[in-house]
């Protein structure tokens, strides 16, 4: 038990000094260096799986069905050799004793080079599963378990919603090397990433969609149901470890997932939510930090990749009431393409397998492999957040500066949760800013204990430590963490202070989003525009020409399978507005990613897949090249066009 040196400060008894310095502002690149692995121009490495063999070669499975072996992958002159071809979109690879294990769309395959001539010559089916032909039936893995078995996950099909059209779609399967398959857990929607922590427990990463309000990682045990009901279609098959039926899951009562779990014991709550748009938009691989020499003092924590935001996040976990829960923090962004796979290299580099074909990413390359290396300098970070019955303890990687850490306004806590429903995504609901009653700084200056009232189970807590600096004057690298409070620890004692909480509301400026034809448009609109989307994050028109001062009715049909909006902005401000939208944080979802700014002229709502909205606006009198853009986080770099006012 840690000793706290007592430093009690009440909320109202300090003054605010706005002019205070927050120390030097650190950058991720001060600690973690991204170095793209050079790939010859004629080789397309749309990486779906990465693994090292015992010769230090990096084996890469690509979406075009090839396996490449890269010798000296850490060097400036890596050598590429094609090892295999003819696989069907492999999205994962493992290696053991001379054999590669690859998950293709329709089967788990063992691949070997028996003649030892440097190319694969044996492709043996270990286990094959049926497919309907729906493109969304991705299959991922395998991960090798210590007992020799392998884990594979099967994505849901897409029929305007996540559907399980055929056996075991939406499941994690356990498969033995001799081809015996044991269905393990379901409730999965788009389980591209999964991994094993130091305890050998399995976690998978989920992507936002119907029933899935936001990305998450969940600890999966045999018989678990993670939340998307479609996979429950197959629970009447004899080998199913779950008896729950699809009809047992009902969203008509407006319960949160944590409230539903009270009625459905099989329903496993996410260990950590990754709030959508803030902690990524398309969660990918999970990688265990094995020791403190790899990326800093984060041994046993997990890294989680994100395709759309081209970044990696870090997760600290603890067990409360026997279940994993914890916090997610930023770790490193600005990879060169969509991060799909994470793998440790021999020198503690992280190799990222990347592709963004079909799903654009903030990293502009369509594919690649980046190498991420820690330079040995420990960043000042929240190391972890620990739940307390009446607050949190924040552990830092370095001693804090007592002065900045003693200002209660430097800690901000907001709790919120999501809806659990068949619709795509969810707004942030029940948001409350929490009042911190008091805090304590630990004797070693590396922990701060925060006391707050009315801790609630089933909520996510945003914890901000923006202006706290280390005792050597370094600013905090990632000043925000999100803790998922499924279970409150048993209380030691409680100090209950009656403080009303503030209900928070965000208001969207409705004059920029007119959904009914204005009454004074007697002759209707001068121009009607139909706008749709193209796959790969594009509008179906790159340029729209309108007359200055004309009345326009614009119908935006979101015929894509992810969320989009349409925002008209002042000339040359799409980047500004898009970047602003990405930084809206928790308010983002509520504002539908429309920043409150003069640059934004008109916009639609944030449309779910298949939704359509017509907005009415009068074109500005000033001619010029205005821009339009989707400001959903991560989309603005590609999804934009010119509104030519003549």
């Amino acid at each position: 038990m840690k000793l706290f040196f007592y430093l009690l400060l009440f909320l109202f008894c300090f003054s605010i000094n706005l002019a205070e310095s927050s120390g030097q502002s650190p950058k991720e690149s001060d600690y973690y260096i991204i170095d793209p692995l050079p790939i010859p121009e004629d080789i397309i490495i749309e990486a779906g799986g990465l693994v090292f063999n015992e010769h230090g070669q990096l084996a890469v499975a690509t979406r075009r069905g090839e396996l490449w072996l890269i010798s000296d992958p850490g060097s400036e002159n890596p050598i590429f050799e094609r090892f295999a071809q003819g696989l069907h979109e492999p999205l994962g690879i493992a290696y053991r004793n001379g054999s590669y294990f690859v998950t293709q769309r329709g089967e788990l395959t063992r691949i070997e080079d028996r003649s030892n001539n440097g190319t694969a010559d044996s492709f043996k089916t270990i286990y094959s599963w049926p497919l309907t032909g729906n493109y969304h039936e991705y299959s991922y893995g395998p991960k090798l378990l210590p007992n020799g078995e392998m884990l594979v996950t099967l994505n849901l099909s897409w029929t305007g919603r996540g559907s399980s059209l055929i056996d075991w779609r939406g499941w994690m399967l356990r498969i033995t090397e001799d081809g015996k398959m044991i269905p393990w857990a379901t409730g999965l929607r788009s389980p591209l990433g999964f991994g094993v922590n130091e305890e050998g427990d399995v976690f998978y990463a989920e992507n936002q969609g119907d029933w899935i309000a936001s990305g998450w990682i969940t600890h999966l045990e045999e018989g678990d149901f993670a939340g998307h009901p479609e996979g429950l279609k197959w629970t009447d098959l004899p080998s199913s470890p779950i008896g729950l039926s699809i009809d047992d899951v009902d969203d008509s009562h407006g319960l949160s997932i944590q409230e539903q779990a009270q009625n459905i014991p099989e329903l496993k709550l996410p260990a950590v939510w990754l709030p959508h748009g803030i902690m990524g938009i398309s969660t990918s691989d999970i990688l265990l930090i094995e020791n403190d020499d790899q990326v800093g003092p984060f041994a046993n924590q997990l890294l989680v990749g994100d395709q759309g935001h081209s970044k990696i996040m870090r997760v600290s976990l603890e067990k409360v009431k026997g279940k994993y829960q914890g916090a997610v923090f930023g770790f490193r962004e600005a990879f060169s393409s969509g991060v799909v796979r994470l793998e440790w290299g021999p020198d503690n580099e992280i190799f990222t397998g990347m592709t963004s074909r079909g799903w654009s990413s903030t990293g502009q390359n369509s594919f690649g492999i980046d190498r991420l290396k820690w330079n040995g300098v420990i960043p000042f970070e929240m190391h972890s957040i620990i739940a307390e019955s009446n607050g949190f303890t924040i552990n830092f990687t370095k001693p804090v500066d007592v002065e900045t850490a003693s200002k209660i306004k430097n800690y901000q806590i907001t709790s919120f949760r999501y809806k659990y429903h068949r619709q795509y995504g969810s707004p942030i609901i029940d948001r409350e800013s929490k009042i911190i009653n008091r805090f304590e700084i630990a004797e070693d200056l590396k922990s701060v204990r925060l006391y707050i009232n009315e801790m609630r189970e089933g909520y996510i807590y945003e914890i901000k430590t923006q202006d706290i600096i280390s005792n050597t004057g370094t600013g905090i690298l990632h000043p925000v963490g999100y803790y998922t409070m499924n279970y409150l620890p048993e209380s030691e004692f409680s100090i209950a202070l009656e403080k009303p909480h503030e209900e928070m509301a965000t208001i969207i400026d409705s004059s920029k989003n007119v959904l009914k034809m204005p009454a004074n448009w007697n002759n209707g609109a001068d121009l009607t525009i139909q706008l749709g989307t193209l796959p790969g994050l594009r509008f179906d028109m790159d340029e729209i020409t309108v007359e200055a001062g004309s009345k326009v009715a614009l119908t935006f049909s979101n015929n894509d399978d992810m969320l989009h909006n349409f925002v008209i902005v002042q000339p040359e401000t799409a980047d500004l507005v898009g970047t602003h939208a990405m930084k809206l944080g928790l308010e983002g979802a509520e504002l539908e990613y429309i920043p409150t700014s003069e640059e934004v002229l008109f916009h639609t709502s944030l449309l779910k897949p298949g939704e359509v909205e017509t907005i009415y606006f009068v074109v500005p009198e000033e001619t010029g090249n205005y821009e339009y853009v989707c400001t959903f986080p991560g989309h603005h770099l590609n999804m934009r066009g010119i509104l030519k006012v003549i």
Partner: protein, 626 residues
Amino acid sequence: MFKPIPDRLTLLIGFVLILCCNRHTNANEDISVLPLNKISFEDLDAFNILGDNWKIAGGIQSDYQIKNSMMIQDGTGTLVNVPTANSRNNLFTKLQHGDIELKVEFLIPKGSNSGIYLQGRYEVQIFDSWNVENPVFSDVGGIYQRWDKSRPDGKKGYEGHAPIVNAGFAPGLWQEFHILFRAPRFDDNGNKISNAKFEWINLNGIRVQENIEVTGPTRSAKFNDEVAIAPLMLQGDHGPVAYRNLQYKLFGNSGHLSLKEMQYTIYQHSNRYMPDFDTLKITKEGTTSFLNPDSISQQNDHYAITYSGELDVPVEGNYLFQAQVNNGGDLYINGDRIIHINGQERNATNSNITYLTEGTHQLIFHYFSTGWGGPRLSLWYEGPGIEKSVLGAEIKESTRQIHEPFIIESDSTSSRIGGFINDSGGIRTHVLSIGHPEKVHYSYDLNMVSLISFWKGPFADVSGMWVGRGKSQLLVPLNATIESRIEVPIAQLNTSADLVDQTIFDQLTGKGYTINDDGRPEFSFKYQGISVNDEIYPSGNAYTLIRELQYISNRTHENIVSRIAHADSIELLPNGLYRVDGQYYIRIHKSSGQKASIVDVNEMQTLTIPILMDENKSEVRYDIIW
């Protein structure tokens, strides 16, 4: 059995179909067009007879290696031409045609030549162009050149159109043309105002001509003038040929269906089922000339509409109606429900055929939209002499991205690609396709351990897989494909019912393939302790495939057979080859010493060879020729 490369439009529709049908749950046979009219080959009544070189026959066989070989069986159903020194006439239909959709099968022996002359004037060439790599206008699928004697030598022939690709098969196999032709147009004074035009020609399911205008009759045409209607001519003066299944539709001059007095009522409606309209709240009413919900609704979704009005029918006959809606819709004509789409799928399509008399009919369309993709209602129709067209809607440009082809060549080395294959049974999902520099290629179902299809010439388009998200995941062969319909190449033959695949499919283990020293895959699996090895490879530069099947067991077996073809009909030809469905030949190499036999199974036929009877290793080797 022909596997067409879809054109762009059908590719787009294909995307939609792929989502809703598959091998496991085959959708009902989709009627999307009216049936064609057949010309009977029971007798020659449909033709104006000139001479006796044309006659009605039953089956036709031909030795693909012997010039002009034609073995004619008595019977009906086939129209055959064997020209002699005295009689080598062309054949004219009594049918006169202008715009026409034409479908016909033909068989041509080695070295022979014929042609289909639209309006007796514009020739689509039939020729033994077997294995010609760079076809010209005079090869099969070409539009023959025009001829002007007054031009200097070497320039007399002009305006020939080579086929896009040589989609022809070997001599003695049945092939198929499908043609959409437009006759020339004339003004009231008889002056030509537009040329005759081939909208498209498909040979064996592959587009070989597209959008080709012909400025006048081609060489050897019967007539030198051009007219609005004229008979079809089958060329009989060059060499032997056979035709069967001649079908057509004539278009033009019947006017169009039109909607009149259309009224609409919009209701609030939010669930996914067709409502009882009497109970709904009306939000808007009015008149319209279109069925387009976008143009009248103020909401984006969650509403229902009833359209009701009059349908003006210009000529009596069978009409096909086809609706595509998001989400649900019912079409009623005169109170009968013609089309029902229940709204449970996105963008569902359904169609039906109904007989309508000339005059005015009552039309009602009930529609509802509940989101997912936005409102969409499109209605098409086709009628007697009327080409398929849109009824009562503004045609919206598709916003779907059309991908450029992503062509995989196999010029210098062989290519292996994993990807779905579309065949007559739906989508095959566990498939490896192999392209060879020898220009013969095949697809193999790894799960069903069966050779599924083969083709020659250019290899494959993978844009459905490797561009964007790859929503179809299809590998599309770039030439006319034969579906082998061979399933698992082994069976336990106690009764012929054992040849139905499901009975053994669950007993197959150890599937996979190895790459041999020649860089070719050898597929393998086990069945009842028998190890089966299956290798398929090009035979030098002969444009044929060789298949080698090896069966090894630690004992002898009874009633185990190698199964090498499964088809509607398998014929043993006098030259010892088997002709499968009239589509390809099998030449069995004498190796195992056992005799092949044709077994009838469930109204189909299977070609089998007994194996492992008194040996514990059997080999079966055969050529596939097409």
